[in-house]
């Protein structure tokens, strides 16, 4: 672990700048409907944040806005104290798994190499260093032996680990993962948790969305409780109280002896069907 950390320090002063992420009164609309309203919070350098909320709370929308996939209706997003898109971005994003064309003729290693494209430049060929980064990332997520397999032939969990390896190969300052624990096998869950530990050592700022309140409380520095607006934000003990959970989840939360139980099924009238 130590070796890897020092390596990253050597690469173009990766940690020289604090990877701070700030949202200022962010409002995002989707097809004219506001999905996120007036969201303001700050993520310090290297922190790990769990974004928690019911289905349709705007978790995916938040992530898509953070990587510039959705325009902001109002408000501002700053990365390294500079507005989004004003510098070469250092944000990697692992979306939910439905968003790529699985029949495409690419191998797992090809997919991970795409994570390097931003660094390679569009006209140059991958160098030995790029190939090494790809091999290392795949090794770390336990998919090195799948390198030459077509992406469409892998299992769902294997595919997700390939996409995590790609995000790792991007060497991001900020890593966003949308529902990485939803509907995955045990191996992938463990690999993802191990990845979170490693990213913590490397000082990478991480933000994930999840339904799992226990996981959010146990493994993360900050919890953002979201339901179209920011219900609560802070360390888990402060952010996750019966009041805030009831406020965010409404009728989906049930309290038994002070323990919150959240109904994870899609409520009727859910506009988008989610995996898992």
């Amino acid at each position: 672990m130590k070796r890897r950390t020092s390596e990253r320090h050597g690469e173009a002063g990766l940690l020289a700048e604090p990877a701070r992420l700030e949202l200022e009164a962010v409002t995002v609309a989707y097809n004219g409907q506001p999905v996120l309203v007036d969201v303001t919070f700050q993520v310090p350098h290297g922190a790990q944040v769990a974004v928690v909320g019911p289905n349709g709370a705007g978790k995916s929308t938040l992530f898509r806005a953070l990587v510039g996939l959705l325009p902001l209706r109002s408000g501002r997003i700053f990365i390294h104290s500079r507005p989004l898109g004003h510098h070469r971005d250092c944000v990697a994003y692992v979306p939910q798994r439905e968003e790529v064309d699985w029949r495409f003729p690419v191998t797992a290693a090809d997919v991970v190499m795409m994570g390097r494209y931003g660094r390679i430049g569009w006209l140059r060929r991958p160098t030995r260093a790029d190939r090494a980064a790809v091999a290392r990332s795949m090794e770390q997520l336990g998919v090195a032996d799948l390198a030459d397999r077509p992406i469409g032939e892998l299992s769902g969990g294997q595919q997700q680990r390939v996409f995590l390896a790609r995000a790792l190969a991007q060497e991001p300052h900020i890593l966003l993962m949308d529902e990485p624990f939803t509907g995955v096998d045990v191996t992938t869950r463990e690999a993802t948790l191990a990845l979170l530990d490693r990213l913590r050592d490397q000082g990478v700022t991480v933000m994930i969305s999840t339904h799992d309140l226990n996981l959010a409380a146990e493994r993360f520095d900050f919890v953002a409780l979201l339901n179209r607006r920011l219900v609560a934000y802070g360390p888990p003990a402060q952010a996750l109280t019966p009041q805030t959970i009831a406020e965010a989840f409404g009728g989906q939360a049930l309290f038994l002896d002070g323990v919150a139980i959240v109904d994870r099924c899609c409520p009727p009238g859910e506009p988008q069907k989610r995996g898992g």
Partner: protein
């Protein structure tokens, strides 16, 4: 056998036809890989038909027919890209509207011209044996330009096709790359017009690439295999038209289809025949 292959080449028109077939077959097949992977088959067909009014206008103005075709194809390609960018109109609907409008305009214009018959047949069904040296140069230069761009922009085109979300996070100009792909497709179709014609160019785009997809697992290999199959089909079509007196474009498409069927049934990994046998043995 060798004589059977070389004898026709004593004629200059056959030499030019052979060169044109090789170039067009390979070019269509490489561009066709993106057509197949992005499910643009309908668009390819639409673009080919949209060329008709351009040709008619060029004929009326007395300029080179290929230039007219080129202008019309690029115009329609960009218009489709523009129309479908707004989610109000879905892409296939946008294509359907423009395709029909352009075809109607072409037919309307052509119906006003009485002396058009011969050239029109050539545009509709192609005539590889009528390729002039000038046409050959145009084909070669345009084809080279298209292939060079596809090679140079391999990475961005791959990312945009496979994972638009990554493309956007890498700040690629996604819409511009999409439009560029449509323009490259339009150029390819115009280049292919003389060999296979408006009616059949879609087949030369789609069939070799679909065949190659069954045989390969990576995009560069798919493009190479597709180019080989496309060139072979076009040349085989040329010989068929020489010996059996069949229309060359139609012959090329029939050969390509035959190759596809053989691969579909007997391909080493995906072949339907082996799959059926495995199922039977498994019982």
């Amino acid at each position: 056998m060798v004589a059977w292959l070389t004898d026709p080449l004593v004629y200059a028109f056959m030499q030019r036809g052979l060169l044109a077939s090789l170039m067009v077959g390979a070019l269509c097949a490489v561009v066709g890989c993106y057509v197949v992977l992005r499910s643009l088959a309908f668009l390819g067909d639409a673009l080919a038909h949209a060329i008709l009014p351009g040709v008619a206008v060029a004929y009326l103005l007395g300029v080179n027919l290929l230039l007219g075709a080129l202008a019309a194809a690029v115009l329609v390609a960009l218009a489709i890209g523009r129309l479908s960018r707004h989610s109000l109109v879905q892409e296939d609907t946008a294509i359907g509207i423009l395709f029909a409008a352009a075809l109607a305009l072409g037919v309307a214009l052509i119906s006003t011209i009485r002396t058009y018959a011969v050239d029109l047949t050539h545009i509709l069904f192609g005539n590889v044996l009528g390729v002039s040296a000038g046409d050959l140069w145009l084909t070669g230069l345009l084809g080279l330009a298209v292939l060079t761009l596809i090679g140079l922009l391999y990475k961005p085109l791959l990312v945009v096709a496979f994972d638009p979300v990554l493309a956007a996070t890498l700040r690629l100009p996604v819409e511009r790359l999409r439009s560029l792909l449509l323009v490259l497709l339009a150029l390819t179709i115009v280049v292919a017009l003389q060999t296979v014609g408006v009616g059949l160019v879609a087949a030369m785009l789609v069939t070799p690439a679909a065949t190659a997809r069954l045989l390969t697992r990576r995009l560069p290999a798919m493009m190479a295999a597709s180019a080989g199959i496309g060139a072979f089909s076009a040349v085989a079509g040329l010989y068929l038209s020489f010996y059996a007196n069949v229309a060359s474009g139609a012959a090329a498409v029939l050969v390509a289809t035959l190759v596809f069927l053989l691969v579909f049934l007997f391909a080493p990994h995906h072949g339907r025949l082996w799959a059926a046998l495995r199922e039977r043995r498994g019982r």
